[in-house]
Symmetry: C2
């Protein structure tokens, strides 16, 4: 963000799993910050959070969001759940604040862009909305690899099975997995609260409530959000979403049928040219936490039917799937001069 004047930035949900990553990434990416305010629930208000980014080396006291006046902020990064976003994001936007919202609150609202900056930056250029929605983590990770393939080769059908980390379900879910591992080592029974069943030594094929068609909510998002991001209402994604006992990074097994025949060389060339995508011999989630890229492995074009492609994709869902993508949206808004209006 060269030439961007330092911004007055707020983080809503600052003590949550994604909120902490906002703090790390604002510093890592040298985001131009004039001041930083942190907002949370009444329960979190008053907590002090240490932050040394942007030349500000001190502790910041978390403010009670319900009582906070957003006047003077340029940008607010929201990641405190759908209910909080529905209640407070419009209030922030009305006060002139650009809001990047990591919840599902506005993703399907036709007036609000849903953006992966590498995929549909044009949707930022053409909007007047001050609220921008950040897509679901699994959808971002898929589309980072799939969008350039779709544009070149026309994805006719897409089948995805996911291997999703527990941090996607929040800090309590991570604590539960770790607690169950410690209980195992101690010879104790697992305790279950965040998930109905043990996640340690298990996989759980349900993420979010069931929809009318039998999909889980997480599965339904793949088609709904991909259509909006790609601007293609014929796009189909048959997803099966599964929680696995991994701390961080989502993995996805992807099968696509293309509109025309391709080759491994062509797919690799498309992926090499895709910003934010890295090729890896064998991407595994434990090894790829705290990496900005989306890692693609195991690109296979079917030997009998060269319109059939499979690959394996892994990325840190707290970074590219959430905090990093949101900050990149803010950076793109800066490049469009939206903080100077």
């Amino acid at each position: 963000m060269e030439n961007q004047r330092p911004l007055h930035v707020g983080i809503v949900g600052a003590t949550g799993v994604v909120g902490k990553e906002f703090l790390i990434l604002l510093e890592k990416r040298a985001f131009p910050i004039a001041s930083l305010r942190l907002f949370g629930s009444a329960r979190s208000a008053g907590k002090r959070v240490r932050w040394s980014g942007g030349g500000i080396n001190n502790e910041i006291t978390v403010e009670d969001l319900a009582q906070a006046d957003p006047t003077g902020l340029d940008l607010a990064l929201f990641s405190a759940g759908k209910g909080v976003s529905l209640e407070h994001a419009p209030r922030f936007a009305a006060a002139g604040v650009v809001v990047v919202d990591n919840s599902s609150a506005f993703r399907r609202d036709p007036a609000i862009p849903l953006v992966v900056p590498e995929v549909n930056p044009g949707d930022l250029a053409t909007t007047r909305s001050r609220i921008i929605a950040n897509p679901n983590c699994s959808t971002i990770i898929l589309l980072m690899a799939l969008a350039p393939i779709h544009r070149a080769l026309d994805v006719v059908d897409c089948v995805v099975s996911t291997y999703q980390a527990v941090s996607g379900a929040g800090k309590a879910a991570v604590d539960e997995l770790f607690g169950q591992a410690r209980a195992f080592a101690a010879g104790d029974e697992p305790r279950c609260e965040a998930f109905d069943r043990p996640i340690f030594l298990n996989v759980l094929p349900q993420i979010g409530p069931w929809q009318a068609n039998g999909d889980s909510e997480e599965e339904a998002k793949f088609t709904q959000e991909s259509r909006k991001i790609l601007g293609d209402n014929t796009f189909r994604c048959h997803a099966t979403c599964v929680r696995v006992p991994v701390e961080r990074c989502h993995s996805e097994s992807v099968y696509v049928r293309l509109g025309r025949a391709t080759s491994e060389q062509e797919i690799l060339a498309l992926l090499r040219a895709a910003p934010g995508v890295a090729l890896d011999d064998l991407a595994t989630p434990r090894e790829l936490a705290n990496r900005e890229e989306v890692f693609v492995s195991r690109v296979r074009v079917d030997e009998e039917d060269p319109r059939v492609l499979r690959f394996w994709v892994v990325s840190d869902q707290l970074w590219k799937g959430a905090a990093l993508n949101s900050i990149q949206i803010a950076e793109a808004m800066g490049a469009l001069g939206r903080f100077d209006q």
Copy 2:
């Protein structure tokens, strides 16, 4: 096995992960046993194994397979790896012993049946081979659910992503997962020998060596073995096989395109009528160890294209995927009178 005279049975690989399940299941299923001999490597020879099945309540000393004379055995259950089977199964068969082999040694041999008793029992009735091959665990679990659907509705294309338990890689792999969990609890680094990378808090998208077409060996088996079992050389299965930190039971996310439209009701009726298949609201591997059935959940027929079906299938790969299926083959051979010839 009513009316079957008690048999002289040998287990080759008796101290391995599957060998132990043979002992449990022979007792559980009241397999008619006149005598039981256990065979292992020179390293295992001399070990004493306690067994209380079949009215034999004592300790059995493991014999050195290389030195053993199989004369007098009716049946040998092999699960000691491909090399051992290639060397010793023909020797046992030549001595008149019916061999059920759980390795990959003979699966692709056109003279040797590859059998899931619920799917292709006819291949036992028509063979003269004394060696019968037990299919790969993942393929058995898939076909238990898919074969009745294929016969009724013609599976045109099949996409499978697996979530495979570490016990499929042997006892050392289970010990490694457990050891890494204990190391985590103690604050120590994971030690890796059975797998190249930690399996705790990870998933590994490679099972077996790479094939020329980019598939892993485990992935290639799906199409190769399914074609032989189904007797359909046009059957296609696009598999992605992934090891997950689960002790026992493989799970599979399955997508199929059918030759004609179906309904959820039709699929559920087919599965209810399928022997050895059980419907379950949400099958998870940790909860389904030591169960004989293959559990199917999440049956979904696509609302836009009723030729597209998805389901989730879980089964104990050491039981129906290995030891149980082998014993069922032996039971079927008994029903065919093959031990009375």
